[in-house]
C-alpha cells in the first residue's frame, strides 16, 4: 500500500513522457480535415496512411535515415574511442596539463555554435570535407567530445584505484589492468556516452545544414524540415508521419544497449 503513491507518480511520469509520441502517432494517422478540427481526439475518426505515403513518396526518408544512422553510429563510436582513454588520463593523472585540459574542455562549451560555424565551414572546406558524411562525423565528434569526456571522467573516478593496484600485484601491466579490470567496469558509462553521442548526432540539424548541400548526402533532420514553410506553417500530417519514423531507429538503438545501463557493478569491490 505504501508504494501506491510511488506507482502513481511513476505512471504519471510515463504518461508525460509518452504523450508527445502518442500525439505524433495520432496526428500522423489523421486527415487534414481532422487535424483542423476544433475538438481534437486521441483516436483518429477516419484513420489514414496517406500521410505516410506522402512522406515517403515526396522525400527520400529511407536514404536520409540510413545516412543519419551511419553518421550517428560513426560519431558515437569515435567519440567513445577518443573519450575513453582521454577521460582515463584526466581522471588518473595530476599536473598542470590536466588542469589546462579540463579548463579548455569547459571553456569550449561556452561558445555558441553559431559563432564558430563559419570558421568551421572554412576549415572543412580546406580539408575537402564539405558536403561529405565524414565531414559531418568530424564535426559531431568535435562537439560531442567535451561533454562525453566529462561524463566518462566521472565514471573513471568512481572505479577504485585499488582494483588496478590489485591487478598490478597480480602481475598485470597498466594497459592490461585498464583493459581487463577498468574497462569492463566502465560499461554503463560507455553505454551512457554512446547513447548521448548517438542521439546528439541523430538529431543534429544546424551543422548538417551548413556542411551538407547535395541532396544525395542529406541526413534525416534536413529532410524533415522540408515539410515546413515560413512563419511556422507546416504540412503537419506528412511531418508527423516522417518524424514518427525518424524516432524509431533511436528507440531501437536504445532498446538494444539499455540493458548495459546498470549500476552497482562495483558494489563490494573494495573492502571498507
Amino acid at each position: 500500500m505504501k508504494k501506491i503513491p510511488q506507482y502513481v507518480a511513476l505512471l504519471a511520469y510515463m504518461v508525460f513522457l509518452a504523450f508527445p509520441l502518442v500525439w505524433l502517432l495520432s496526428t500522423a494517422l489523421k486527415t487534414p480535415q481532422e487535424m483542423a478540427s476544433l475538438d481534437p481526439t486521441w483516436i483518429p475518426r477516419s484513420p489514414t496512411l496517406a500521410n505516410f505515403s506522402d512522406a515517403f513518396s515526396e522525400q527520400d526518408l529511407v536514404g536520409a535515415g540510413l545516412r543519419s544512422l551511419v553518421v550517428a553510429l560513426a560519431s558515437s563510436a569515435l567519440t567513445v574511442a577518443v573519450a575513453l582513454p582521454a577521460s582515463y588520463a584526466l581522471a588518473r593523472y595530476q599536473g598542470a596539463l590536466k588542469r589546462v585540459a579540463l579548463g579548455w574542455v569547459l571553456v569550449s562549451q561556452v561558445f555558441p555554435f553559431i559563432l564558430i560555424i563559419i570558421p568551421l565551414f572554412m576549415v572543412l572546406r580546406q580539408l575537402d570535407l564539405v558536403n561529405t558524411l565524414p565531414g559531418l562525423v568530424v564535426v559531431h565528434v568535435t562537439f560531442t567530445l567535451p561533454f562525453a569526456l566529462w561524463m566518462l571522467q566521472g565514471y573513471v573516478r568512481s572505479v577504485p584505484r585499488e582494483l588496478e593496484e590489485a591487478a598490478s600485484v597480480d602481475g598485470a601491466t597498466r594497459l592490461r589492468a585498464i583493459v581487463s579490470v577498468v574497462a569492463p567496469l566502465l560499461a554503463p558509462g560507455v553505454v551512457a556516452t554512446l547513447l548521448f553521442s548517438f542521439i546528439s548526432s541523430w538529431n543534429e540539424f544546424l551543422f548538417a545544414l551548413v556542411v551538407l548541400k547535395d541532396p544525395d548526402v542529406m541526413t534525416l533532420p534536413l529532410t524533415l524540415v522540408r515539410f515546413t514553410g515560413p512563419e511556422g506553417v507546416s504540412r503537419l500530417g506528412p511531418l508527423a508521419a516522417a518524424s514518427l519514423m525518424a524516432t524509431i531507429p533511436s528507440l531501437i538503438f536504445f532498446a538494444i544497449i539499455q540493458r548495459r545501463l546498470r549500476s552497482g557493478l562495483m558494489a563490494g569491490a573494495v573492502k571498507g
Binding site: L38, F121, V138, V225, R226, G229
Partner: protein
Amino acid sequence: MRIKSALAAAAVVALAAGCGGSGGDSGSSGTPNEPVKLDFLSLAWQKESVAANKALVEEWNKANPNIQVTYVQGSWDNVNDQLVTSFEGGDAPDVIHDDSPALSGFASKGYLLDLTGKVPAELKADIPQAAWDTVTFDDGKGNQGVYGVPFLQESQVIIANKKLLDAAKVRIPTAGEPWTWDEFAEVSKKLTKGDTFGVAWPMKSPVNKTLNLALNFGGTFFQTGADGKTTVKVGAEEKEVLQRIHDQLYKDKTADTSALGMGTADPLPGFFADKYAMLPVGVYLRQQVAEQAPDGFEWVTLPPLKGTTTEQGAVSQTLSVAADSKHPEEAMKFMAFFLNGPNQAKLAKGDWLLPTSQKAAADPAITTEENGWDVATASAKSLVVAPFLKVNGFDEWKSKVATPVLQEFFANKITLDEAAKRLVEEGNEVLERYQR
C-alpha cells in the same frame, strides 16, 4: 607513456576517419567535356509547389544536356544561416531562391551578382517595374543594382465563411468595389453573434502584416530626411490601421482577443467551426483552407480592404545568382526559362501566391473563380514596394522593438500613443547604429 600514445592514436584515428571520405562536391566547375553543373537552392515546400519546381528542373535538364541543374530543397526558417555560411565559405549555390528583404543585406556585402543588363529583355518587360523595385538595392558602395528576379508576391486578402456572410446579408465586395475599413468594421459587427466573432487577427508576428496594411492609409512608418538619414515615423496615417484593429478587439469586441497570440494558420480550426467568420490573411493560406476545410464548408476570398487606397506593401520571392558562381550566364539562362510566363503560372499555382509575370497573371489556371484565384490574382494590382524593404536595420527594429511593442499594444497593455513613442524612440536608436 602508453596512455599518451593511446590518446594520440585515438585522435589520429578520428581525424583519419574524417578525412578518409571522398568529397561529394557537386562540382559546379565542369571541364570542357563535361556539362556545366548548377546548384539551385529552392525553398518551395508545399506539395504542388515542390512538384512544379522539380518538373521544371527536369524539363530544363532534358532540353539542356550541357547545363545540368541540381535541385536542392532548403527551408525558409534556416536559409539565411545556410547562405551566410556558404557565401563566406565561397561555396554558395549558383541559383538562390529567397525573398527580397534578405537580398538587401546580401547585396551590400557583395554576395550576389548584380543582374543589371543581364536579364533577357523579354523577362524584364514581362515583370512590372514595381516588382523590380523590390529587388533593387544599394551594393554598399552607393551604386544601385538589381540583385534578383522577383517572381512570387503575396497580398493580404480576407477569407470568409460564405454561409455566415449570406446569413448576415452583407454586401459581397468585388475587386472593383472592395470593402472600406469602415464597412469591414460594420460587417464584423453584423457577423458577431453568440459564440461567433466577426474576425480573428492572428498577431503572433504582427509587424509585416500591420506595416503592409498601413499603406491603405498612406502609413509608411519610415521617412528619409534631406540628410539621407532614415528615421521611424508614427503619425496619423501609421496609427490608422493599428487603431482600427485595436477597436475591433476592445471597443467593438468583434475580434477574438484569444486569437492574438496565434500564428497565421492557427485560427483555421476556429474558422471551420464558425467561431470566426473572417480571417485577414495572406493569399497563400487559401491552400490550407482548401485542403483542411470540412466537407460542405463554403468559403470565399474577398479583395483587399480600402482605406484611402487599397495599396499594400509587398515583398517578393526571388531568384538570384551567387557572385561567386562560376557559371553566371548559364545560371541566368536557367532563370529566364524557369521564370517565363507559363512557368511562373505553374509556380504561382503550386505556391498559391501571385506571379509577377504579366503573362502568367493572365493564365486561366490562376484567374479561375475556383478557390478564389480570380480575386487573389486581381489583388496584385494593389501591391507596391513595402517601404520598410530598403531600411537598413529594419530586421533588428522589427524583432527588438516593433514586435514586442505591437504585441503589447494589441494585448491592450499600452496605449497607441505609448506604442508610437516607443516605436519611434527605441526604433531610431536602432536605425542610428546602421547609419553611422
